[in-house]
């Protein structure tokens, strides 16, 4: 039995699917952020896997993931800051309550 590229991608796809599911179904904004992290992570895995299996000796995918992690960290920090601010304002982090900017 060999560990093929496909085998690495399958957990990634499932993780992504979970992320999508969580993103769509959760009401809690922090939970949505967590789902988002899942999806991001699954994409990271893809980059790395393709880099490693198809273009060994080159490191574009790896570096991309590296930067993506950095940016994900930044993004999460920012998003959580916003969520906390929102929580201060309306004492809630339910996404359905935050519709003042609608229309």
């Amino acid at each position: 039995m060999n560990l093929t590229l496909l085998m690495y991608l399958i957990p990634s796809i499932i993780m992504f699917g979970c992320g999508v599911y969580g993103f769509l179904t959760r009401k809690n904004m922090i939970a949505i952020m967590i789902s988002l992290e899942l999806m991001l992570n699954s994409v990271d895995i893809n980059f790395v896997v393709f880099n490693r299996f198809l273009f060994p000796g080159q490191f574009e995918g790896m570096f991309f993931t590296l930067f993506a992690i950095a940016i994900a960290a930044a993004e999460t920090a920012l998003a959580l800051a916003i969520i906390i601010n929102v929580f201060r304002a309306i004492k809630n982090v339910d996404i359905n309550q935050i519709n003042k900017l609608k229309f």
Binding site: I95, L101, K102
Partner: protein, 665 residues
């Protein structure tokens, strides 16, 4: 130019109008009245000067070869439509213009004077708007004078409108009264409708002749040429025809309709009886003597054109003859004195119209023969005499109304004892209109009848019968007012003869009504300016006098003393009597057409259409846009999760498209 001062005849009333209209409010009533009368007196004197010089003066170019010329005194351009089609505002003197100057200024002066007394109080209260009244009288006088001295058709149209407005303002003088309000509106709109036809007539005529000027249209180089000129205007009659009639016929018929509106010919007469809501002197001036004959004047002015257009003449003849009888029949049963007089006026004007129409006794009439143009002369003569005696009758009626404060003859009766001067003046007026020699009406009416007999025996008999009817209804009114039975005093004041300002005009007009018949009209107001040889046709005259006497006798029998005969006759043919009393339901017919057909049937649906369909369509566009925008707005839900769903569906769609592409290509 010798007639230069004619301009003053026109200008003084205009000035009086502006002066009294603008400064009147600051002046006392007495001052206003005196100024108005003085202004009118000066105008009258000048107008007499002009007319006398024109008719009897010599050496000023007004008579060439025994033919009176039209003299254009003043004719500046007023409005240039094109290089050739120019409206001018001028003064032209010819026999009928000069005659009309006399008629208008005389009656107008009498009315001005009379109004000093009449308008000073209204049913016992001080009259409001005395200044306004004099201003409007001056405006009317100005407009009417401008009309008769017009040098071109368009000027006549302009002053037609002006007299219409003055008439509107004066009928509606008691503007707080709904009846007056309604009547003034009606008068204006009906005459406006007629003026619309007049305008169309002018458009047609001016297009084909290229001019408005009477110089070109009817006088040509001299009067003798006018027939040829008239025919040349038609051009080639074969070319411009519409529904079988030449453009000329249409134009002249339309112009006649314009005149018919002002002259209250059937079926455009309905405004005149209602116009009696105005002050009585106004009725005397405008709705009896001057403005209502404007239509007759118009047809007379264009007479040389009508002569060559037999179809138009026939229309006038039929309308005139019918109206004469129709109005006379209604006048027999009216109980309101002013309305009865109004119908009498309509009937008499119809006499003048008929008389003009019978003038073209034989078709083409290129050859001039003895008696031709008699109707024209008779018509103008009758216009003159009628103005005098009808003004007299109206002013008498005014005096009576002033005394008893009512228009209904049931409130009068037996006034002879109380108001002898008025009674005699009224009697003179009645004799004049009935055509009893030697009063004025006899001479003019007789010549009309001669002209009618010349046209055809039937027309003559018809008109003679109407003349008899005239005598009957006038004396009916006379007897009902002054005799019938003893007067019941309703008010605290006994009715009596009015102050001198009101009585003097009565006396003057009565005198004129007696002597006016001796004016040598056949030498003065002929259609071609020449002399017309006439003599009294004793058969015709005898018959008409006889018929008139029968009418008077009948009236005497029925109305001199209170008796049940009139009531019996009325009830014996109740339907006819009611129909006549209701003026044969013409008003109801108009009411139906205007309110039910035009207002309810045209205006309301159009207004609805505008609001509902056109505006509705615009609003629908707006509402549609708004709804579409609201619909699109739903997409911008603010729910990130919703966006993601759509995003994934989009991804799926792309995948499917890709798949299809792969499969197909």
């Amino acid at each position: 130019m010798p007639f230069n001062y004619t301009i003053a005849v026109i200008a003084i009333p205009l000035f009086m109008f502006l002066f009294l209209g603008l400064a009147g409010v600051k002046m006392s009533r007495k001052l206003t009245g005196v100024l108005g009368v003085l202004g009118m007196l000066v105008t009258t004197v000048l107008a007499y000067g002009v007319a006398l010089t024109y008719f009897f003066g010599t050496g000023q170019g007004q008579v060439v070869d025994g033919v009176r010329q039209a003299i254009t005194v003043w004719n500046p351009d007023w409005l240039s439509f094109t290089k050739t089609l120019v409206v001018r505002m001028g003064i032209m003197l010819d026999p009928i213009a000069a005659m009309m100057l006399v008629v208008i200024t005389t009656v107008s002066f009498m009315v001005h004077l009379y109004s000093l007394g009449y308008m000073s109080d209204h049913h016992g209260n001080a009259e409001k708007g005395f200044q306004r009244y004099y201003a409007f009288l001056a405006l009317f006088t100005f407009s009417m004078l401008g009309l008769v001295v017009a040098t071109n058709l368009f000027q006549i149209f302009i002053f037609f409108e002006m007299v219409g407005v003055s008439s509107y303002l004066l009928i509606g003088f008691y503007y707080t009264s709904p009846a007056a309000n309604h009547a003034s509106k009606k008068a204006f709109i009906v005459t406006r409708l007629a003026d619309f036809f007049f305008l169309v007539g002018i458009m047609i005529l001016s297009y084909y002749s290229g001019s408005f000027d009477f110089d070109t249209l009817v006088f040509g180089s001299n009067h003798a040429n006018s027939l040829e000129v008239a025919q040349s205007i038609i051009g080639n009659p074969g070319v411009a025809t519409f529904m079988g009639c030449s453009a000329m016929t249409w134009a002249l018929t339309f112009i006649f309709i314009g005149g018919a509106g002002k002259s209250a010919m059937y079926p455009l007469h309905i405004w005149l009886p209602d116009a009696m809501e105005g002050p009585t002197p106004v009725s005397a001036l405008i709705h009896a003597a001057t403005m209502v004959v404007a239509g007759v004047f118009l047809v007379a002015r264009l007479f040389p054109l009508y002569v060559v257009c037999q179809a138009a003449m026939d229309v006038i003849l039929v309308v005139g003859a019918f109206t004469a009888f129709y109005a006379a029949a209604i006048a027999c049963v009216q109980s309101d004195i002013k309305r009865a007089l109004a119908f009498s006026t309509i009937s008499q004007i119809a006499f003048m119209m008929t008389s003009l129409a019978v003038s073209s006794a034989d078709g083409a009439l290129i050859e001039i023969h003895e008696g031709y143009g008699l109707g024209y002369m008779a018509s103008m003569f009758h216009l003159f005499t009628h103005a005098m005696f009808k003004a007299l009758l109206f002013l008498c009626a005014g005096a009576i109304i002033h005394a008893v404060h009512s228009n209904e003859n049931s409130d009068m009766h037996g006034l002879h004892k109380y108001m002898p001067i008025t009674s005699i003046a009224f009697l003179i007026g009645c004799l004049a209109i009935a055509g009893i020699p030697p009063f004025a009406g006899f001479w003019s009416k007789d010549e009309i009848l001669v002209a009618c007999y010349n046209k055809g025996l039937g027309w003559g008999i018809w008109m003679t019968m109407v003349a008899g009817l005239t005598a009957f209804y006038m004396f009916r009114i006379y007897f009902l007012i002054f005799f019938w039975n003893k007067h019941e005093v309703h008010t605290e004041h006994e009715p009596k003869d009015q102050p001198w300002t009101m009585t003097l005009p009565l006396i003057i007009l009565a005198v004129i009504s007696i002597v006016a018949g001796f004016v040598p009209a056949h030498n003065m107001v002929t259609w071609d300016g020449g002399h017309l040889h006439t003599q009294l046709d004793w058969t015709v005259a005898g018959t008409s006098v006889l018929v008139a006497l029968v009418g008077i006798g009948l009236a005497f029998k029925m109305y001199y003393k209170e008796n049940p005969l009139p009531e019996r006759m009325a009830s014996s043919c109740r339907g006819l009597w009611t129909a006549a009393y209701k003026r044969f339901y013409m008003d109801e017919l108009y009411q139906f057409i205007t309110h039910k057909v035009i207002f309810q049937g045209i205006c309301k649906p159009i207004a609805w259409f505008d609001r509902a369909i056109i505006d509705g369509f615009m609003n629908m566009l707006a509402v549609g846009t708004q709804h579409a925008a609201y619909g699109v707005r739903r997409l911008q839900s603010g729910s990130i999760q919703g966006y993601v769903v759509v995003y994934f569906l989009g991804a799926l769609l792309l995948a499917v498209i890709t798949l299809i592409c792969v499969l197909v290509f």
